[in-house]
């Protein structure tokens, strides 16, 4: 019962983080919302692994962490390239 309530709160928190991602004014705010959602979902998977006593859920959490990490890195690199491609040289 306790873990069910915790899971419900984490699910609501991930939905609220999705609202942050949808309301973002620029791509960086949306990317911040994506990282918030992915960290909340990771917490939810870890709590569900405890509640159902299936240890392979932790493997899924591990894979999800690494995938979100790579996704954020690639998207940030791409967005920096887009923003600075045609800008004048600002120098060091």
């Amino acid at each position: 019962m306790y873990l069910t309530i915790i899971s419900a709160i984490l699910l609501l928190a991930s939905v609220a983080s999705g609202v942050v991602a949808l309301q973002g004014r620029d791509p960086w705010a949306r990317l911040l919302g994506y990282t918030l959602v992915s960290s909340k979902v990771t917490m939810l998977i870890i709590v569900l692994a405890l509640a159902t006593e299936h240890s392979f859920y932790l493997d899924i959490a591990l894979v999800y962490i690494v995938l979100s990490y790579i996704g954020v890195l690639v998207l940030a690199d791409y967005m920096v390239g887009q923003a600075t491609a045609y800008a004048p040289e600002v120098g060091e």
């Binding site: 960086w28 990317l31 911040l32 918030l36 692994a49 962490i65 954020v72 920096v80 923003a83 600002v90």
Partner: protein
């Protein structure tokens, strides 16, 4: 005893998640949002994973949870740093992102 301590840690982590969301919705500046979100999320992930490890005792399950915690401690600060540095660089602010001049933010 393990169950009580684990439950308290998991509840504390969930409380921190709610606090971090409050900060993210309250701040308007991107860097302040990043501060509230990423810092609180890192702490909450550490506390929740430690609570799961404590609650399941000395088993392979808790070892796996601690492995997840180790990967999180490597990954989460890097993601926050990449977001802050990328936003700063895409705004065209010259210089290294490691230089801390607070009046520019």
């Amino acid at each position: 005893m393990n169950v009580i301590v684990g439950n308290v840690l998991i509840g504390l982590g969930t409380f921190l998640v709610v606090l971090g969301l409050f900060g993210v919705f309250r701040f308007k500046n991107f860097y302040l949002k990043l501060l509230a979100g990423s810092k609180i999320d890192t702490v909450a992930l550490i506390v929740i994973t430690a609570g799961v490890a404590v609650r399941s005792g000395v088993t392979w399950f808790s070892a796996k949870a601690l492995l997840v915690l180790a990967i999180l401690l490597l990954v989460n600060p890097v993601v926050s740093g990449v977001l802050a540095a990328g936003k700063r660089r895409s705004e065209g602010i010259p210089g290294s992102p490691a230089v801390d001049r607070i009046e520019e933010v």
